[in-house]
């Protein structure tokens, strides 16, 4: 089977995201709002901010990714394109992958690209910068995957955003612990690889299981 249908979906998703650039970049704006407000709230002392920076950046990245989750499948449910996912020879799993990839590219990647700026604003020690970018690179796909599962499960629920946050928070606790652990270790000049390894394991686990769950949850919502 050719990959053409999945590429077509991926490209259409990117095109749609470009048409709604403001909406697509909302997570990024949110991230920077948080990063700018934190020093105003807790005081601009560099040593305090540097201690908080790993946690703050990660929590901001996490909350900002939540913002975009509601639009992951809902527009497709409303205009009927989601039911077309199940028609024809293409596999739903492949389409779920294509959608998650485009979603990560639109919401996850900008956060990673601008994270050095956020790190600078919070006085994160420079030696931790590489590890922070690496932790975001490994961790944000897992955010999309786990968040996608929660979004698919709550797709036809009223007031889905509340339920979505409740569903997603327990699932991503390990992600936050390992990611901020890795960055803090690096900031203190210690070896962060154990944390990064566990973070990678979490992402691999999410990659293996979440797409199946998402495909099943989507079908359930169409019944």
């Amino acid at each position: 089977m050719s990959a053409q249908p999945y590429r077509a979906l991926f490209r259409r998703d990117l095109k749609l995201a470009m048409r709604r650039l403001g909406e697509s970049l909302l997570p990024l704006f949110f991230l920077f709002t948080v990063i700018v407000l934190i020093p105003l709230g807790v005081g601009p002392g560099p040593s305090l901010l540097a201690r908080m920076a790993p946690g703050m950046i990660w929590v901001a990245a996490l909350l900002s990714s939540l913002l975009a989750l509601e639009h992951l499948f809902r527009p497709d449910l409303e205009d009927g394109t989601l039911e077309q996912w199940f028609v024809g020879e293409t596999t739903v799993l492949g389409r779920v992958w294509a959608r998650l990839a485009s979603h990560w590219l639109i919401t996850g990647l900008p956060v990673i690209v601008f994270s050095p700026l956020a790190a600078e604003m919070l006085h994160l020690p420079h030696r931790a910068l590489g590890v922070m970018i690496l932790s975001l690179l490994i961790g944000t796909p897992a955010l999309s995957l786990v968040g996608g599962l929660a979004a698919a499960l709550t797709l036809s629920t009223r007031g889905a955003s509340v339920l979505l946050s409740i569903l997603i928070f327990p699932l991503i606790v390990p992600l936050v612990i390992f990611a901020t652990g890795a960055v803090s270790m690096a900031a203190d000049g210690m070896n962060p690889y154990a944390h990064l390894g566990l973070l990678g394991a979490f992402t691999i686990l999410a990659m293996t299981l979440a797409p199946f769950g998402i495909a099943a949850a989507l079908r359930m919502n169409l019944e």
């Binding site: 077509a8 259409r12 009927g80 039911e83 293409t90």
Partner: protein, 201 residues
């Protein structure tokens, strides 16, 4: 005549109760199956089942050819132009008609660059029908294809169905208008409410 779609003892349950009696269907090239029946009898459910959107509780469903489904929702993206919507659709399978040709077929000639969100409900349905034309599929599954279309639009749907029957087959659900095509090609299946609330076919 080649077999396009075949079911055997197909069953679907909703809230634990069967929606219709176990159903055996055979669709061959050049044939149209028309599903009729009152609202809520399960026409849409059956079509969605045949399209693969729902999974049957029991029974078998075999597609011998590519199939396409047009439901109540037109499945077009409002932010994309008509042409872009069809372009996406064309990439999903074997391409058939050119985009401009398909748009002309459904009476949307010259509207290719208009965003789909600016179309009326009837025009959106026409665009939904055009999706069928840009991609080659042996079996069309149409759910109320005449809904929100004007007289000319309904006639056009008839023409499209008649042309599709030359190379493939059609299953459609309707409760208002029957396709005005060669009656020998049509097989009608009337779904009706059974005594225990179930449906007979």
């Amino acid at each position: 005549m080649t077999l396009l779609l075949e079911t055997e003892g197909l069953e679907f349950h909703r809230y634990g109760a069967p929606v219709f009696r176990p159903l055996g269907l055979r669709l061959e090239t050049g044939r149209a199956i028309v599903l009729t029946g009152p609202n809520g009898v399960g026409k849409t459910t059956l079509l969605r089942l045949l399209a693969g959107i729902l999974k049957p509780v029991s029974g078998t469903l075999v597609h011998h050819a590519a199939h396409a489904f047009v439901g109540h929702l037109p499945a077009v993206k409002g932010d994309l132009s008509c042409r872009e919507n069809l372009e996406y659709e064309q990439r999903l399978g074997l391409p058939d008609l050119a985009l401009a040709e398909a748009l002309a077929e459904v009476g949307l000639a010259g509207l290719g660059s208009r965003p789909a969100r600016a179309l009326s409900a009837g025009q959106k349905r026409r665009l939904g029908m055009a999706r069928l034309l840009v991609r080659r599929s042996g079996c069309w599954l149409l759910d109320e294809p005449y809904a929100s279309l004007d007289d000319a639009g309904c006639r056009r749907v008839d023409e499209l169905i008649a042309r599709q029957l030359e190379q493939g087959g059609v299953i459609l659900a309707t409760h208002q208008r029957h396709p005005h095509i060669d009656p020998h090609r049509i097989e009608q299946i009337a779904l009706e409410f059974g005594q225990e609330g179930g449906v007979q076919a």
